[in-house]
Symmetry: D2
Subunit: 112 residues, 4 copies
């Protein structure tokens, strides 16, 4: 499935559930939650359980959690983009161009 | 370009630049930076300039900033996934499955 | 208890537990977790439970969670400051000065 | 200046400027910005400039930036607390109690 199809699918899903009504600041707050949970998933894999309220988990389970949290970030990014009529293809293209441009500038800077 | 090609491209780019050496906590910290800049881009579009250190910008420029920040988040998510040998296709699939499952559960819950 | 005493107490506590060994990027990642949990606590109070994995809670319990999350952010800020030999008194003073200065500039800007 | 006085001062300052009108999700989004800027300040101190859009800065300047960003986080935490009629003294007390309790539990757990 291409990223544009995924964005469409997620967008439709959110609309169906009535989750599309939240504004941009709610969206940023939800994204902040997911990034926090990703940080927690990384900590669980790297450092392990150091909080009494967390059960130990298998390596496989920890990695699955991590994958889900990354998915939640991407879902939030897709919905945030949709809020401003921005397609994910556009976002990825812009990122590729930005990296390429930065790289060329630093090459040029190094030669001068 | 499919998301797997983009992930490969970004991964190669990072390797070439020597940016692949950072560990998972550095990656989370970089992701935190980018999410903060996305929050700033959204504020700039929604509320406008309310800080003396920020110049006013055209609506088009503000939207372009927002697109770039979303791209930076995605780039960071791609690299973080690569660090654990996780493909973006896998992440997106997991997210779709999670949403579908949650939806079905809540339907079933509503019927009981 | 004054904020400097609290910082000292928290610093001692962390040292005793062996939590002082984490570097700055781990600290930023932990802070990111806590900010995410604060976002979740705010969502729980404002929007309520909309995730099947979360139990409903009393208003009092939700507020208590929120207070604890804010405390976790402050604890992390204190430890991050300590890592660079910065006192919280210094941080608060700098913030007050910054706000005052910004205010005066905008007054001056408005008069010209 | 005690932390309660600082909270009062910051609260009054925000009210005067009309910044008190923002709701909880805007507040979380602003906090997300500041945490991102703190992550950036830490990166600047630890890794240095690796982005072409950033000027090199003295070690003293970098540390000053870091202190200001921590102050911005604390200012945001204070205002977020005020939004729910929570005092910073209460937040710090709760954090201290939580740490103490967790410590005692883990001691007890270790003995059993």
């Amino acid at each position: 499935m291409k990223e544009t199809e995924i964005q469409q699918w997620i967008q439709d899903f959110y609309k169906q559930r009535g989750w599309s009504d939240y504004g941009p600041f709610e969206r940023i707050a939800f994204l902040t939650e997911e990034v926090g949970e990703t940080a927690r998933a990384v900590r669980a894999m790297e450092i392990g359980r150091d909080r009494p309220d967390e059960d130990p988990q298998s390596a496989e389970g920890l990695k699955q959690d991590f994958i889900e949290e990354l998915g939640d970030i991407m879902g939030n990014v897709f919905i945030l983009a949709s809020l401003y009529d921005v397609s994910i293809a556009e976002v990825l293209e812009a990122h590729k161009n930005k990296l390429s441009k930065r790289y060329n500038e630093s090459i040029a800077g190094g030669q001068s």
